[in-house]
Amino acid sequence: MSQRLRLAAVSFLNARPITYGIEQGLVGADRFDLRFAEPSRCAAAVAAGEADLGLMPIASYAASAEELRVVPGIAIASRGPVRTVVLVGQVPWEEMTEIALDGASRTSQMLARLLSKERGLCPDFVEVPHDQIADAAGGTRGALIIGDLGLQIDGRFRHVYDLGKEWDSRVGLPFVYAVWAGRPGVVSVKDVALLQESLRLGLQRRPEIGRAWAVENRTDPAVGEDYLVENIRHCLGSEELSGATAFLARGFRAGLLARPMRVRLFDAPAPPEPQPRPARTLGAWGARRLRRRRTIAGGSGNPSRVPTLDRLLHDAAAGERITLDEGMRLYSETDFFDLGQAADLRRQALHPQGVVTYIIDRNVNYTNVCTTCCSFCNFHRPSGHPQAYALSREELAQKLRETVELGGVQVLLQGGINPDLSLAYYEDLFRFMKANFPLAIHGLSPEEIRYLSQREGLPVQAVLERLIAAGLDSVPGGAAEILDDEVRRRISPNKCSADTWIGVMREAHGLGLRTSATMVFGFGESPRQLVGHLDRLRRLQDQTAGFTAFICWSFQAEGTRLPLQDDTGSLRYLRVLALARLYLDNIPNLQVSWVTMGPAVGQVALRFGGNDFGSAMIEENVVATAGTVFKISASDIERIVRGAGFTPRRRNMRYELQL
C-alpha cells in the first residue's frame, strides 16, 4: 500500500459525516488525500484519472463509461422525506406543464423525470443554472430544488413534493443519492475498513457537524442536526442496495439510462466475529432480526457485513433459509441464469425423481355475481345484470359428469361474492356433489369464506367446520394477490386484508385442510412488498405446514379497469418463480401457471423452480375473460413436460402421485 489514494468528495452538509474521520486526521492520514469538488466533478475526476475514488451521484455512477465498483456500507441515502430534493410550484404536479431542473444535479434530475413518468405525466423539462432555480417556479412551471436551499423554502410555494418521500411511498425502499465509487481494484479491503471507520466517527458527531453548518449559514442550529439525524441515512446495506438497484432498473426501463446497471461492490472486510447462520428453527422472524443486527450500519456495528450474491445463491440453492432483505437482493440484483440455476438445483433437491406432476380437474365458476368489484377483474357482474349467472344443479351435474368421464379427480370451485348465496347453499351444493361424484372439492377462496363468516355472523372456524362436514376437501389460495394492504387498497379495496387472508388459511390448516397459496404480481408493488408476500406465506407455513403448493402469475390486464403499468413479461415471471422456489423453503411444490403465462413460458418455468404443471383444465372463466384462452389437453401437457426433460405423472389434490 505504498501509493496514496486520491479521494474526491463533496463538501455538502450531508456528506460531511462520511469524510469526517479523514478530514479530522483520525483515520487513514498516511493513506488518503482528500479533495472537495462539485458532485458532478467527483465523477469526472475519477473518469479523468485525477482521483481514485469519488463520492459520486448514483446517476453518474450508472452513466460512467467504465464499470466502476462501489464501497460497501457507505452512501448518502434517505428513507422517506429527504428535504433537500424537492419539487415546488404554484400548481400541483399533475398540472405542471414544465419543470425547471437544476443543472448541477444528475441523480435528482433523473429521479424527477422518473417519478413524473411513473405518475403518467409528460411535462417539458428545462435546465436552469443552480443560482436561478429558486426563482424558476411560477405559473404552471415547477422547479426542482436541490441541496441546502431545500431546507429553507418553507411557505414560499403552494405545492411542495419531497422526492425522497415520493420515492419511498411508490417503491417502499430507501433512495440512494451518492456513493463512493472507483475503478475495480483501486481500494483494498483495508481501505474499505478505513472509509467505514471515518463514517462511523462522523455518525457519532452528527449533532456537532449539523450545528457547525448552521452557524456558518446563519440558520437555526436544529435544522442541520435534524436533517443529518432524521432525514439522511449513511448506510449502504441490503435495503439501500435494493433501492439503488430499483432506481437504476426503473431508470433503464423508462429510457433514462442507456443500459441496465447493477451496483457492483468492492470486497468488504470480513466480519470480526463470524456468527453462524441462523438455524431453521429460529423461523423467519428470528432469522431476520438476527440478520438485521448484523447488517445495520452506523453506531458501533460494522456497516458492511453483507454476504456476496454468489454466497447467498449458493446457500439458498442448498436449502438454507434466506431473509427478507436477502430475498430482495436476490430478486433485484442477481443474474437471470444464476437465479434460475439456483432455483433449478433447489427443485432438483426437493424433487429428485425428475417427475413433474399435473392434475385433471375442472374449474367451475359457480357464479359470476360479485360485489367486490376489483379493478383487475373482468369476470364479475352485479346481481341482476343480464350476464349474471349462478349455475343450476343440472348445469353443474353435467359439468361434473364430463369431468369424471375425462379422468378428472378434483373440482376447483370458485365464484364471486354473491350476497344471494348462503352458507346453507354451499353445504347443500357440497353434499350434492359428494353424494354423486367421486371428486375432491377444492373450493372457496379465503375471501369467499370470510364473506360467508360475515354474512352468517359466524366465526371463520365455524364456517369452515360446517363446509368440511358438507364435503370441502381443500381451499385454493386465490384472492391473495399481493399480501400487502397498501397494494390491496389500491387494486381491490373491498377484498379482505392481508391479515384476514392469512387468518382464514391459519384456521383452515388448523382444521386439517390443506390449501394452496397464490401470488399475483405486476401491480406496481415494490420488491419489499413482493418478497414480503412470500415471507408471510413462509411464516404461516412454519406454524401450520398446511400449504401444499405455491402458484404465481403476473397480472392479466386486458379488459380490466386497471391499466398495466408494470412489467408482466415472461422474463420477470421466471425471476419471480425462481425467487419463490428459493425463498419458500418450507412449501414443497411450485406450480407453473401455463393458464396465464402460456404453455411455452410454463414449460421453460419448469427449469426455473416449477415442479407441477397445474391442471389440464376443462374450464377457466376468470382469467379467460381477461383475454387468456390457452387450452391444452392432458396429452399436450405430457408432451410439454417430456420436452423439458421430465417425466409427467398425474397427481391428486394432495400432490400424491396417482397410480
Binding site: C122, Q341, G569, S570, P599, R607, D636
Partner: protein
Amino acid sequence: MTLTSISEKVNAGVPLSFEDGVALFHEPDLLKLGALANQVRERRYGDRTTFNRNLHINPTNLCVASCALCSFSRRSLEQPGAYTLSLSQAWDKLKTRLEAGDPVTEVHVVGGLSDSLPFDYYTDLLAGLKRRLPSLHIKAFSAVEIFHFHKLFQLQVREVLQHLRAAGLDSLPGGGAEIFASRVRQRICPNKCNAQEWLDVHRTAHQMGLRSNCTMLYGTIETIEERVEHLLRLRALQDETSGFQAFIPLAFHPENNSLAHLPAPSAVDDLRVCAVARLVLHNIPHIKAYWVSLGIKTAQTALWFGADDLDGTVQEEKIYHLAGSDAPQALAPAEIVHLIRAAGRTPVERDTLYSVVAEGEALPARACASPAGEPR
C-alpha cells in the same frame, strides 16, 4: 463431449465439431446451455438487442411446389384464398405505410413459385418500391425463388440476380433452406431446390457482393444429427464467403398444412435451437429471435439464449399466420423497444445491414399517459 469441454472450446475460439453440436442438443441442463450461449452473445453485443422497421410483401401465394410444410400456397387461382397482388397493390402497401407516418427502412419480399407471372413483374415490383422510397433496402426472394426464376426464365442464377439488382434488390432473405438433409426434403418439400442449389444461390449472391441471411426450419421430422449437419453446411459456406449476416431459426407451425399431425416444437426446443446455433455458428454475426415464429414471450426469453435481434415491426406477415401463429400481425416500434427493455436488454434500431439507426433516447417510447396492455 461434456458441456465443460465444449465451453473450453468456445472460450478458446475453437470451432465446435459435429459431435459437439449433437451433444449440445442432448444437454439436459437447459440453463447451462443457455448461459454458455448467452456468454458468447454478451461478449459480442453486451445487452444490445437490435430490431428494424420493415414491411413484408408476399406478392403471390400461387406456387407450383406443394410442400407438405406449407399453409400459405395455393395451386391455382380457383382455389379459395389464392391471390396475386397487382403491381400497384404491392406498391400501395409501402405507400400506405409511409402515408400513415410509419416509416420503414426495409421491405421483405417473398412469395410462392408462380409459373404464370413474367420476370418483368418481379423487376417492376422492386423498381416501383425503390422509386417510392429511394432509401429503402429491398431484401427480396429466397434462394428457392431465385432458383425457380433461373429454371423458369432460362437465365443463369447470376443473371437473375443481376437483373434483380439492377431493379433495386439489395440483399436476399434466408428462407427456403428448411433442412438440408435430402431425406427430410423429399418428405416436406420435394419440389424445392436441393441443398446444394440453395447454397449455390447464396454463394453466387455473396460473390456478387450481396449479403443474405440463412435459416433452418426445425420441428418437422428431422433428427438432431440432421439439424447439426444443416448448421455445419451453413457455417462452411460462411467460411468461404462471409456473406451471411444472420441466422434465423424457424419453428415449424403445424396448422393448415399436411404435416398438421405433428406437434409444434416446444419452447424448450426453441430456446435450445437458438442457443446451439449461437455456439455452433461462430462465424455468423447475428442470431435472430423471429417473434412471428417464436411468439413474443419465447422470443423475449430467447434474447437470453443466444439471440441478439428481434427482427422487425413486420406488418403484414402471411406465411406463419396461416400456419397458426398467434403472434400479432405487426408490432409498433415503441412496442418492440418496450419488449426488449422488459426482457432486460438494451434496444437498438438497426438497418438491414446492422448499422445503428437509433438508440437511447432517440428510440420511440410508448405513450406514457395511457400504458398499453402487453400484446399477446
